[in-house]
């Protein structure tokens, strides 16, 4: 009965053998590599933006604080998918209006920028919260032994903030690996898109999507594992 409801499953083993080939696996692994690469570059870009925006948010200058606030609120307050589409579809129009040139958007490049800027908004808050969570006695003690602001930040505050930011920061990395799948809508062949391609090619989505799931989980669980190890090592001095 059930076999007739799902006629495509009749020759299950056949289909699996057809889809799970070395060639297709390699295709998906390569796509997984792109997903990882997009996540890594976006995280790096987001970290730089996040540090700058966090510093701006804590600055004495109102202009800097306002710019950082607008940046954070825009990217946190609207969907990432919208931002990706906006950058990809409207990027050339925007650059033409602002700077007078048009570019042909590359989905990977534009995707990394969009995801990176989005991630930066979240990193901003992570960094700011971690820095501000350090006891003010640490600032006072630094002052009494003669350290200036930059020395205090560098030797006392940031090393302690780093430890606190590490767990949510690694979480952000894992989120980005998953979010990189959104680039499928602008045609970047990352892991999810590669599964869709195989699915439509073999007219079977179950196996490619399961394969993609396994690959996503392999990446995210590996990162979690090493994160836990690193955390334990850093916790030794607490």
């Amino acid at each position: 009965m059930s076999l007739q409801l799902f006629p495509l499953w009749e020759n299950k083993m056949d289909i699996i053998q057809k889809i799970v080939t070395a060639e297709n696996l390699l295709f998906m692994l390569k796509a997984a590599g792109y997903s990882l690469l997009v996540a890594v570059i976006a995280l790096a870009l987001g970290s730089i933006l996040g540090l700058l925006a966090a510093a701006s948010k804590m600055s004495h200058f109102k202009v800097l604080r306002t710019i950082a606030n607008v940046y954070v609120e825009f990217f946190r307050g609207s969907p990432m998918l919208l931002q990706i589409l906006l950058f990809y579809l409207c990027g050339p129009i925007i650059t033409k209006a602002l700077f007078g040139f048009v570019f042909t958007p590359n989905p990977y490049f534009v995707g990394v920028i969009a995801i990176g800027m989005n991630s930066g908004a979240y990193s901003t808050e992570l960094f700011r919260a971690a820095i501000q969570s350090i006891d003010k006695g640490q600032w006072e003690a630094s002052k009494t032994i003669g350290l200036n602001y930059v020395q205090t930040m560098r030797h006392i505050i940031l090393p302690q903030a780093f430890k606190r930011v590490l767990p949510p920061y690694i979480n952000e990395f894992i989120v980005l690996i998953k979010d990189s799948s959104l680039l499928t809508v602008i045609g970047a062949v990352e892991l999810l898109h590669s599964a869709e391609i195989l699915g439509s090619h073999f007219y079977n989505y179950l196996i490619p999507l399961l394969m993609a799931t396994v690959l996503y989980l392999t990446m995210t669980l590996t990162i979690s594992y090493f994160a836990r190890k690193l955390e334990r090592r850093l916790a030794e001095s607490d």
Binding site: D135, G137, Q138, E140, A141, K143, T144, I145, G146, L147, N148, Q151, H155, I156, P159, Q160, K163, S237, D238
Partner: protein, 243 residues
């Protein structure tokens, strides 16, 4: 050595310190006593720029502290050490690094020189075996002794203590007070905000009694403890000294 003139500090509507003047000479041990919230801590925090007074001046060796330009004050302020109630050691550094960071970064000493001084100071406070330990591995009394050694490492001319034993378990108070008494006997200038009346009576050269942000009485320990002049001091002493 330290001169405080007409210093006032307000937190919103609260007048924490109200027109206080006093002077500390080299080698003096001044204990500031008084009820909680009387402005004792705020007062000594004003001496080294942790609080900026709303009015009045602070002089260190006849140089006026310029509270508007904190960056130019760093050199002047490192001449005064500070020991906190809650130690404020740097938890991510071992004891040795806690002691050498300031001298190396702020006073441009060589690593060797700073480490030599640090080792000698740790011996002095009886913690030479804790050189590699992290603050979390120390007891409260040990932490406070490290904090005192850290203050000494900057080779200050005076050290301010902000209730150095108030966060300690009773059995650890003695070891910290002993170190402070040794400092006093070595001629270090100390200003100590404390609730340890025994220490004030025994070690202080002068005791200042504060209440409601003002200095009510000041004099030798005998004058303060045995011949209190004001009702407020008599009340306070009756409450804290129970025989």
């Amino acid at each position: 050595m330290i001169k405080v003139q007409h210093v006032s500090k307000y937190f919103g509507k609260i007048h924490a310190v109200e027109d206080v003047s006093f002077e500390v000479k080299k080698g003096e041990v001044v204990c500031i006593i008084g009820p909680s919230g009387s402005g004792k801590s705020t007062l000594i925090r004003c001496i080294n720029g942790l609080e900026i007074p709303n009015a009045g001046d602070v002089y260190i060796d006849d140089t006026k502290l310029d509270f508007q330009k904190p960056k130019t004050q760093i050199k002047l302020l490192t001449r005064i050490g500070f020991v906190f109630q809650h130690f404020n050691l740097f938890p991510h550094m071992n004891v040795l690094d806690n002691l050498t960071l300031g001298p190396i970064k702020a006073q441009s000493k060589s690593k060797e020189e700073a480490e030599q001084t640090a080792v000698a100071l740790l011996k002095r406070v009886g913690l030479e075996d804790k050189i590699e330990a992290f603050p979390a591995q120390l007891s409260g009394g040990q932490k406070q002794r490290v904090a005192i050694a850290r203050a000494l490492a900057q080779e200050p001319e005076a050290i301010l203590f902000d209730e150095p034993t108030s966060a300690l378990d009773p059995e650890m108070i003695g070891e910290v007070l002993d170190v402070m008494q040794e400092l006093a006997e070595d001629g270090m200038t100390l200003v100590v905000v404390t609730h340890e009346m025994g220490f004030a009576r025994e070690v202080a050269t002068r005791v200042i009694f504060m209440d409601n942000g003002r200095i009510i009485e000041s004099g030798t320990p005998e004058a303060i403890f045995d011949r209190p002049q004001s009702d407020r001091l008599r009340d306070f002493l009756a409450k804290v000294i129970r025989n």
